[in-house]
Subunit: 444 residues, 2 copies
């Protein structure tokens, strides 16, 4: 779980060099292992007057977290503050009052969660200050050290009971590389179904994962299977051997299919309906790059990237919805990218496709909500894969360090985030694009 | 207009060092001077089938720009493409087809504008691809060199006739440091009033500028006055001498007032109504920093920043609207910051206030639209001022170079952007937050 630089920085000699030169010294991130407690210590819960989320302490306790309403020690594993009641600029002071004395007690890989409100329908002054919390949390993210994270969760009025899956994710090691995100709960729907077993929430579900033969796709397949899903692992025929290996390892099904072929959507539907009685979770992970600056890019490179990364996903969604092959409570999850948010040199095609995935999420969220389903996306930052290992050293090191964690993420970090979105408990999480980037400096 | 590094990089020895070490070699940006042509050469206009913006060539010509519909030379000052007709992923290829052969013909300080559609009410597939254009333009911004910029202008259906002020701004030297922005035209209103004289569009208008004694505020006052406005330059009494100097230079009015005092809104209204018969343009520029990490920040530092940068602006707006002191066609313009978008170490208070300004814009845009007025904000990146000159060398150089222009902006770049938003021609530009940051890498 540590890269070579991290190993060096933790060696005797490396420690000296790192300290003298002021180089980054990344903390190995704590990651989820079944059976381990969510947090390595107690959480402090606080609340501004008029807050709507007084059920949160009970939710945290049900997740096995010790909750203090008065800070009792000089180190805490999490700080959670209900700011939904704040409706005026002067009252933002309550956020300061809670965090100022406590922020330095946050332990390694600790968690900070600010609970705010979605803005729609709020009194104008309240809407302004709820929006202001975003600047607060992003700054806290850049100040926190040693692998600790912060998020702003905006809870829609009426969705108070629907935050459990999100809090369990954010207040655990599953969200290791998710930092400084704004997550909206209950914008399109507040309905949610509590999993019978939070350790295996996907039991009985069928999940399709495209591009599953290796890298992030393989990690997604493994994590969804670990959480109980039967995984249909899809990739192109040329990846057949690796695909079979993944499918065998997780007792899933391998499906060789080129998703860009004209009959792929029909074949996909046929497989899912006839073999599995429909699908519960669709993860559009398959993606390619064909990098060149625009003046040097071939039309084939443009078309290939747009076709794999965007057109095929839209076609598959259409076919699944039309055939009613997405089961009730279905989940569609796209994989965007920081390049789709910030743009990137040599990636006009890739960034266009990945921005399109963001468009897909916001456009189809209300459509899916009508069916009791959801659509969301993750946007990975620098993730350690064979693809990023091939990037030239200097660019790779810059990408790896230019975030609040001073390190790249692991494929499983993306996979855990997808598993949260896929959970039956996440029915109120719809239309979100969540970056898995350790709060990369890059953005728009 | 060039910084010391730029001067060095252009010297004989500096040129050698820069080339050998691969250091940035920023192009001096062309900036607006009254009387000079908008562009230093012709613009190429192209269009995807079904585009709504066929009036654009005529608009450009009326701004004195030579428009080619077939590229005729190996260097063009601007490329403008109407992508509003693109409604399918496969058709995004038309964007590639237009730009691929032309992008390398864009000259120094050239301009690229992609005209797209706002997403509301579009057919879902069209909405996805219109959103995808954002990834395209941000990547092009990172590929363009030598001071050239790119923007995506999303034009709402029915607002086709309202784009002139925006195109004139973007296709001129006035927008020197605005890069890779997405600007929405016609989201709240499509009404607009063409200025009698585009060189002095603010003639007869009264503009209030807070924090006008120096830096960006003084530049705003000067540019608004240059464009014809009578400027009420406001600052705290302690800045009285500098404020008077600014006001005298531009034949404006100096108003000494502490905007955080409880009677400030009433005094402001009284001054504007009794002395000027109301106000047309309000620029909330006054802002302070009191930087400390959250654990070390005093409550006084928190309160002072929130009070000056956010609460006082809301209070002033309320008072102006209640007293009907904002004239018909009024403009409110806030000053946010990249820190309000991305967060910053040591600036939890400042980033909260500046994110609140973004909240103010989106919350009050529909309210202002009902009165035929608008509210927008600029979000400056690294701007060369006395404030940034005081930043430690290494941090300053990083901030200055980490953008697509490899240089900091000038106060006038922020001022020109505000002047565009203030123009009577910009009535359809409402609810926007426009970064003036040379496409800073930083974001969220």
């Amino acid at each position: 779980m540590t890269d070579r630089y991290q190993q060096f920085a933790r060696s005797g000699f490396g420690r000296l060099v790192v300290r003298r030169l002021g180089l980054p010294n990344p903390t190995p991130l704590r990651r989820y292992r079944p059976g381990e407690p969510a947090l390595e210590g107690p959480a402090v819960f606080g609340s501004a007057d008029g807050g709507r989320l007084d059920a949160v302490p009970a939710i945290l306790r049900s997740a096995g977290i010790e909750v203090l309403t008065e800070p009792a020690q000089d180190r805490h594993a999490a700080l959670v503050f209900d700011a939904t009641g704040i409706d005026d600029v002067a009252r933002l002071r309550e956020v300061y009052d809670f965090f100022h004395p406590l922020i330095r007690t946050v332990g390694p890989c600790g968690r900070v969660v600010v609970l705010g409100s979605t803005l729609d329908g709020l009194d104008p002054r309240a809407a302004v200050v709820q929006r202001a919390l975003e600047g607060f949390t992003r700054s806290v993210g850049k100040e926190l050290r040693r692998g600790a994270t912060v998020q702003l969760v905006q809870v829609a009025p009426g969705a108070e009971a629907a935050v459990e899956s999100t809090l369990r994710f954010l207040l655990s090691a599953r969200s290791a590389y998710v930092d400084a995100q704004v997550i909206r709960v209950g914008t399109h729907s507040t309905s949610t179904a509590e999993p019978e077993d939070w350790e295996r929430p996907l039991t009985g579900r069928v999940a399709l994962v495209t591009g599953a033969a290796r890298g992030i796709g393989a990690a997604i397949a493994e994590v969804l299977a670990r959480d109980g899903a039967h995984v249909v692992a899809l990739d192109i025929p040329a990846q057949g051997d690796e695909l079979s290996a993944v499918a065998n390892r997780i007792s899933g099904t391998a499906l060789q299919l080129d998703i860009t072929s004209s009959d792929a959507p029909a074949q996909l539907v046929e497989h899912l309906v006839e073999r599995h009685d429909g699908v519960d979770i669709v993860v559009h992970n398959a993606g390619i790059t064909r990098d060149k600056t625009l003046g040097k890019m071939t039309d084939a490179a443009w078309d290939a990237v747009l076709s794999v990364n965007l057109a095929s996903q839209l076609a598959a969604n259409d076919a699944l919805l039309e055939a009613d092959a997405l089961n009730a409570g279905g989940r569609i999850i796209g994989v965007s990218s920081i390049a789709g948010i910030a743009g990137n040199v040599g990636q006009t095609n890739y960034a266009t496709s990945k921005a399109g995935v963001i468009g897909m999420v916001s456009t189809f969220a209300p459509v899916l909500a009508e069916r009791g389903a959801t659509i969301n996306a993750v946007a990975p930052g620098f993730i350690e894969t064979r693809m990023t290992a091939a990037v030239p050293l200097f660019v790779r090191e810059a990408g790896r360090r230019m975030n609040s964690m001073s390190q790249g993420g692991q494929p499983m970090d993306v996979a855990e985030t997808i598993a949260w979105l896929a959970s039956p408990g996440s029915g109120a999480v719809n239309g979100n694009v969540v970056r898995v980037c350790g709060q990369s400096l890059l953005g728009a």
